[in-house]
Amino acid sequence: MSALQKETMNDAQPLLQVKNLEAFYGPVMALRGVSIDVFEGKVVAILGANGAGKTTLMKTISGALAPRKGSITLAGEAIQGREPDALVRQGIAHVPEGREVFPFLTVEENLAMGAYIRRDKAGIRQDMEMVYDYFPILLERRNQPAGTLSGGQQQMLAIGRGLMSRPSLMLLDEPSLGLSPLLVQEIFAIVRRLNKEQGVTLLLVEQNAQVALNTADHGYVLETGRIVMDGSAEELLASDDIREFYLGQSAGDDRPEKRWKRKKTWR
């Protein structure tokens, strides 16, 4: 990305802007002043080790958690503290970590719930066909209670369900969790297609940093509740720290030494 492009981007108003966000679980502080910008039509990836607060950030944006401090604006409107259902109506779809399907509803009912806020019957049908097209196994199992699907099938369902609301901003929390390599490729192909063809903006949390950064335009690195690094996907892919800690491409595989190495944390 050229410097010029970057300039014009900064002029524009981001679709989603998070400023100085702080969030707590009881007395535990999980976000310590996080700020990110997500511009319309972009794919933004968030990287970070376990427990960094990625899921917490996603939940706070989509309203499942109320932030203690800070602001979240969506298309210029302050949305922090609102309930998730209101945000869905404003175009946010959140595919949560760990699938969270409705276990006693059938696959088809789950998908229908994804389109809960929509009224256009024909459009809903069409999108359902689209999801079935992406994940043929779901079509085959459309009358099976979602709770009895295999882990990966549930993940497909969760993603498909997220698509059903026709979001303008989609939050994907570890979409590739438990998917076969083939499907991981497919998921990211779908992400790219959504982004290119339907102009959906995506905020992505993903452990598979390689794939994530290949798909994303921009990336943030979150560590213990703080953003410690950000840059375009290319920049991050080129960064040594990222290469070592998120891509696993450090020189050599000298194990005994690594075994006892302390995890790198930025503070």
Partner: protein, 292 residues
């Protein structure tokens, strides 16, 4: 006395249990909460019916009275959820159990203050009317109760199975957070369901008062029996509630007739235990093993 006769009154009796059980099931289906004050809400409904319909009070036509009672109790259910139950949204199930138990006590108290503790009956247009079919005597009240219950069950059943809102209610009960992520206004849906169960409780109450007499304490134990009926049916199932209600209702008169006295009255509970021992999730269970 005729077995058929016992059956008729058992069915009518069971329908009232069924109606009340519907209220339990509604709330359970939409939030997996159990409303231990359901019986007391029914009692409120009965008193409201009495207030609107009886000559010594408002003296309104029967249908107007029942509608008013249903509306008021519906509103009550809505406000209850909005201002009391919402405070513990997302909290463990047994917080709700305790909350509704406490609510029941409060409702009984308030009813006692308003209507006193004397038993009161409803003056229905069909009081004392019976149809005679051969040997069989069918009180008109019973017929009305049976028709109302079956119709209400059918309507609610289709509402849950077929409508978007109905499915959304089930979704909210299965995973509140995911339901939220789908744009389902979970809290509002809870309020709606409480309102709905208020309406059902009012109808049950009016039917109850039409058949016998009410006083503030009837709700508690009648509620427990209806709860047993709902559980026999398998808490999540509306037709199950009706079936459970009928079973309890039918078992009672037959036990009263044929079992030694002092034993017959526990028959509904023994029946429930037997059903649960054979099918730990009730007749139409919706319990499954977790897929790991």
């Amino acid at each position: 006395m005729d077995i058929l006769q016992l059956l008729v009154s058992g069915i009518a009796n069971g329908c009232i249990y069924g109606l009340l059980a519907l209220g339990f099931v509604l709330i359970y289906k939409a939030s997996e909460a159990v409303n231990f004050a359901q019986g007391d809400m029914m009692m409120l409904g009965a008193f409201l019916g009495v207030t609107f319909i009886n000559t010594s009070y408002a003296d309104l036509p029967f249908l107007v009275g029942i509608t008013l009672a249903a509306l008021i109790l519906g509103l009550f259910g809505y406000l209850l959820d909005r201002f009391v139950l919402r405070a513990i949204f997302g909290q463990p199930q047994f917080a709700m159990v305790i909350l509704t138990i406490a609510l029941g006590f409060l409702i009984r108290f308030v009813a006692g203050v308003i209507w006193g503790h004397d038993p009161t009956s409803l003056e229905t247009p069909f009081i004392g009317l019976v149809w005679t079919v051969g040997e069989l005597i069918i009180p008109v009240v019973d017929a009305v109760i049976i028709i109302t219950t079956v119709a209400l069950t059918a309507i609610l059943y289709f509402f849950f199975a077929r409508t978007r809102l109905g499915v959304a209610m089930q979704a909210s009960s299965q995973n509140q957070m995911a339901a939220y992520y789908m744009g389902i206004p979970v809290k509002r849906i809870n309020a709606i369901v409480w309102a709905l169960s208020g309406v059902v409780a009012a109808i049950a109450g009016v039917m109850f008062a039409a058949k016998g007499a009410v006083e503030p304490s009837v709700g508690l134990l009648f509620g427990i029996k209806a709860f047993a009926a709902a559980v026999i049916g398998g808490l999540g199932s509306l037709p199950g509630a009706l079936l459970g209600g009928l079973l309890v209702g039918i078992v009672e008169p037959f036990a009263g007739r044929y079992l030694p006295s002092g034993v017959g009255q526990i028959a509904p509970y023994v029946l429930m235990l037997l059903v649960l021992i054979l099918r730990p999730g009730g007749l139409f269970a919706q319990i499954s093993q977790k897929k790991v």
